[in-house]
Symmetry: C2
């Protein structure tokens, strides 16, 4: 159904540099595209005359902006949220995460994915990049809930055959749904051998898929790769041909100047996960330097086991604050730049141009959110972009549309019985733990 | 009015060490105290028979815990929220903050305080320590909204007379209101001379008031004090007799081992402001070390100009995450310790014992919050305390009681016309800027 949001504040995110341009006006959506974006009231009147069936939404006291793009997560791990915090990494993996994952079925993962996607939609995330198992099963979840997704079929060294089969099934399931993409996702340079990394890249080329991978997340990884290959993780991946414009590199914490030049030269999209890097003590990624050097840096939550939620508002704030304290310079990562990272920069990770996604522009895909500014923590509005980035919360999101379809309305996710979902999730966790 | 919350999860925060103890039960409030805290249903039945007038609240799917205590802020600066971000400190002060402050009246400050307190109450803050001007005028705001407060009358070197007069008027205005305390608040060792610092401390002693001060916030401050007095800020304040159990030291970023030993020996309460320190690039306070050394470390938001909100949930998360990444140790500041910092540790800053405030215990002051756990980002509940600290949001707060009085009910702050408040705030900002 067409809709038009009227008398609202529009923040298109199309302005270059650090000068956001917002204006009072209206936005109309037809099919999956933005049909009208205007400050001229006569154009709105004319549009409504031609489209009398159009739903009109009063946007007063609200701001409409592009939806947020989460470029790295493991959404189904919401089942394991808070299962094992404040402990060392190997204990976390060996005693909790891996034993639990070994007992999960595709149906469990679909349930975890449902919970994760519902949380993201309610918080204004309209696109996400996932990296996990049984992604073919999750295509149905994503279709039903209506979020835009790039689903990465993940593998360790010995599970590449499963990931390939998962990817082929997922491609089949996603046929005809332009807002769902499939990718191949080798876990990391320290968990996947050269042979299996190259095999994954060839599979990606054959099927025209992007490739996503954890890169240089921890110091231990960097040391392991140095010892084994006498390279940095980035040097190693570049040498074996894994890095190009179709690659999403998650984390990139332990990258030196030369690594960053390589990532830039190859056109790799970097996914920065500030809160996860902090909580797991991975380190501080040189994000301010990367932006300065012209890399495409995007933002992400990582999985809800290491964060522990899927909240991109917190991620924006943490990314900005962490760079400011790490560099000793309060001027780095200003609010508008952070908001660009979370919107139009993310379009690249999803496989779209900045003309088509992550911005409000006539003809662009209609992925947008409406934020209620009538909240004590958002008042007064002395600077709209600072207000959103430094004070905005997931709970301020009132309406969300993806690919032209309204999926969150008046703060409620459409077509989901939340109490039943919580019940099912809680029962699944108990069942898996008792196996 | 008495009330009883039934069939709920209770998190009393009375357990020592890192073993939180929660249980299913009920809590009753009479006057300003907790009258009943029990897991025994028969006790609840007996209580209700004796108190048939008692309002009964269904607490299923909720957790009731002590209210959060914000130990350092400048709440009235909410008027200046987002007014000047991502710029250098001196430009911020000279071009924005100070010119604005010079034109504010006591009425403007009361309005800013109203907005700040409303934001805090909605986010589950039941006590706060403020440091600003015209605090006598703010006593009325605090009385009306019903939050527990310690209001610090702040001064720079040449304004001590104003602060003394403000404090004396505030003491008078707060008479008979046991939940409102007054303090004296010299700005910092680099902005107030020895003479005026000592004079403030004497004034505090005469009136039996606590003293609060910014200490060792930035490297520039530490260097200034070193150059002028050949001391660290903590050494300097100790030498002139400012540090004792009645002192709240905000920030303490640039404190070495010897400084921390001094703070501990004197029984000073430390107020840690993680997000402010990050956003302004002040540095990373050695909080993990301070806790390890047995200091009383509390949490705070700082003013909404340098954060940019008054959200203690974000502050808990940021404090934990920042220490984990700064120390390289994911085990420091575990969730329960962080929650203690934000509740019972804060009681000390407010001038209460841990027996009386910041915990749920029969006979303790009834400052509590009820959190709705039926949210996608809080499900499943694999660990209640991790859930609250790593995933909880201000918007999950459903009910807030201070001193036995319900001040937030069903997520709405009682007795405040929010649209009228936003309107008044917006007009005040315009008026001040046009002066």
């Amino acid at each position: 159904m067409n809709f038009l949001i009227r008398h609202t504040t529009l923040l298109p995110m199309t302005a270059e540099g650090c000068e956001p341009k917002s204006f009072t006006g209206s936005i109309a959506v037809e099919g999956n595209r933005i049909a009208l974006l205007t400050a001229v009231e006569e154009e709105v009147e004319a549009y409504l005359e031609q489209h009398p069936e159009c739903r009109v939404i009063d946007g007063r006291g609200r701001v409409v902006m592009p939806g947020l793009i989460n470029t790295h997560c493991h959404a189904a791990m919401s089942l394991q949220r808070n299962m094992a915090d404040d402990i060392a990494l190997m204990e976390w993996l060996n005693d909790y995460i891996w034993p639990f994952e070994a007992k999960q079925t595709a149906e469990d993962i679909a349930l975890g994915m449902t919970l994760g996607v519902v949380e993201m939609l309610l918080g204004g995330v309209t696109s996400f990049v996932d990296m996990y198992f049984h992604e073919a099963r999750c295509v149905e979840v994503v279709r039903r809930l209506g979020i835009r997704a790039l689903l990465g079929c993940s593998y360790f060294d010995h599970t590449i055959a499963l990931a390939k089969a998962d990817a082929e099934a997922a491609i089949e399931a996603a046929k005809g749904f332009s807002h769902i993409g499939i990718a191949i996702a080798p876990h990391a340079p320290y968990t996947v051998s050269r042979e299996r990394l190259v095999e994954g890249k060839e599979f990606a080329r054959q099927h025209g898929l992007p490739l996503m991978i954890h890169v240089a997340e921890t110091q231990a990884e960097a040391e392991y790769v140095r010892k084994k290959y006498d390279r940095t993780p980035v040097e190693w991946l570049d040498e074996i041909g894994l890095l190009d414009e179709q690659t999403i590199a998650a984390h990139c914490v332990w990258v030196d100047e030369k690594d960053r030049a390589t990532l830039k030269k190859r056109g790799v999209v970097v996914s920065h996960n500030a809160q996860s890097n902090m909580k797991i003590s991975s380190g501080i990624s040189p994000v301010a330097a990367m932006l300065d050097e012209g890399l495409c840096v995007t933002l992400a939550t990582d999985g809800p086991c290491s964060n522990n939620d899927l909240d991109m508002w917190e991620e924006m704030r943490s990314a900005a604050f962490l760079q400011k304290v790490a560099t000793g310079n309060p001027l780095v990562l200003p609010a508008y730049e952070v908001l660009k990272m979370a919107t139009r920069n993310g379009a690249r990770a999803m496989g779209y141009s900045e003309q088509e996604l992550g911005v409000l522009r006539e003809g662009a895909l209609a992925d947008l959110v409406m934020i209620d500014l009538q909240k004590p923590h958002l008042q007064p509005i002395n600077d709209l972009v600072s207000d959103l980035v430094y004070c905005g919360k997931a709970s301020d999101v009132e309406l969300v549309a993806v690919d032209g379809r309204i999926v969150v309305d008046e703060g409620k996710v459409c077509g989901v019985d939340l109490p039943a979902l919580y019940q099912a999730v809680s029962e699944a966790v108990k069942r898996i733990q008792q196996k």
